[in-house]
């Protein structure tokens, strides 16, 4: 079902009356938003009468893309994560209503408030209009991550998240190897990196909710600063250093390599924000380990994304170019694992 078609719009309007607890809902605009290889996002403007959301509402509707990555959560699970994050005080777009009924628009979806700004990494690291105060932004992102990490197992509302059966680093390595065993071409450079990661894997971990894609490109910023942490589809119980390593890793700096915190700020400002809010002391060696893991993980995902193009199932220039990023990821992974 096309979301812009009149039948879908009428069906969605009727559903939103119940979802938002309104008397009436009139949709003025639905536009597909860019980005999202795994989910589709639509900007939705609606006039709402009655209820706690009365007024002109700027919303986002998030639903599945035709071909998703197997490891990502369902929309219902992502909605539960968003609610848990909001309850923990994390700056997120306010989740408003979840629809698991495929009869409404053909796919499950949820609706959240639309936050202002841009998430585009290549803009955030280069364009001064969006930088706000880079020190404050790095500090705030550190604090936000610390708030996410206050969510800890066990949690009834998040019981769909499996607990790791072995230390998280070892579980990750096993997962990447299992996938590589199914892939048609051996990847010795990636295998070298995984072996190094296995030899240096931390034996234990203090488990927290790891966002697992906490990086520039997945949060919104306007001229004043942070407006929302997005993209919760990979979150799971993990080692709290993992998100710090992913955020600081060279492969997520969008070319702004001297600003080690996501290409937007200094590592020390980001870590200081995290330490102040969490009360933890961040071990630089452990972060370095997870930065190395970040390269192995992103290389594996990039092969998978490229394969969606190469297999012919989803011809796409974007996916094709992502597939070719494997080279730089393997090269940096090797540089980090020489001894």
């Amino acid at each position: 079902m096309e979301l812009s078609g009149p039948a879908a719009v009428a069906s969605l309007s009727r559903w939103l009356i119940g979802g938002l607890g309104a008397r009436s809902v009139s949709i003025r605009r639905i536009d597909r938003l860019g980005g999202g290889a795994i989910q589709e996002n639509y900007a939705l403007d609606a006039d709402v009468s009655g209820g706690t959301h009365a007024g002109a509402q700027k919303l986002v509707l998030r639903t599945d893309a035709p071909s998703g990555v197997a490891v990502s959560h369902s929309r219902a699970q992502e909605y539960a994560l968003l609610q848990a994050a909001q309850a923990a005080g994390v700056t997120v777009p306010q989740p408003l209503a979840l629809c698991s009924d495929k009869a409404i628009i053909g796919r499950p979806f949820y609706v959240m408030k639309r936050v202002a700004g841009t998430a585009a990494g290549h803009i955030l690291v280069r364009d001064d209009r969006w930088k706000g105060d880079r020190v404050a932004l790095a500090d705030q992102l550190g604090r936000e991550l610390a708030k996410i990490h206050t969510i800890r197992p066990p949690r009834g509302d998040l019981d769909f998240l499996p607990l790791p059966k072995q230390p998280p680093a070892r579980e990750a390595i096993s997962g990447y190897r299992a996938w590589l065993d199914t892939y048609r071409t051996p990847r010795p450079a990636l295998e070298w990196g995984l072996r190094w990661l296995e030899r240096h894997a931390p034996a234990t971990a203090d488990l927290v909710l790891s966002h697992r894609d906490f990086r520039t490109g997945n949060y919104m910023v306007d001229a004043q600063g942070l407006t929302g942490i997005l993209d919760w589809e990979f979150a799971g119980w993990g080692d709290w250093h993992e998100d710090i390593g992913w955020f600081c890793s060279r492969c997520w700096r969008f070319g702004a390599n001297t600003r080690e915190a996501g290409g937007i700020g200094s590592r020390s400002d980001f870590i200081a924000g995290y330490e102040k809010r969490s009360g933890r002391r961040v071990d630089a060696e452990q972060v370095r380990y997870w930065e190395t893991m970040a390269h192995a993980r992103w290389a594996t995902i990039a092969i998978q994304q490229g394969e969606r193009h190469v297999s012919g199932s989803e011809p796409s220039l974007d996916l094709a170019l992502t597939g070719r990023r494997v080279a730089e990821l393997e090269y940096q992974l090797l540089r980090m694992t020489g001894s």
């Binding site: 051996p186 070298w192 995984l194 030899r199 730089e328 393997e330 090269y331």
Partner: protein
Amino acid sequence: MSDRPDAKELLEIAREALANELLPFLPPDKRLAGLMVSSALAMAARGLAATMPPLPDVVIADIRDGRHDSDKVLYEALLAEAKARALISNPKDVDD
């Protein structure tokens, strides 16, 4: 023997035409797609011009079992091969 311009030269002039004659006139929402096309053309041209070192012949299970943990020769060969690929796909990210 191949006719001139050869494949690499064709890609290079196509990219120049894209940059000078098309990109400036693309609407903002198509600019990223234009840049991606330009990037793919540049990558293909670099790939045609490159001489690749051989990928070392190694058994993956041996890497996993730790038989190459101290194998400097293998490491240097993997590094050289990955670097050559990275110089094609994203030379800006390769430090010396």
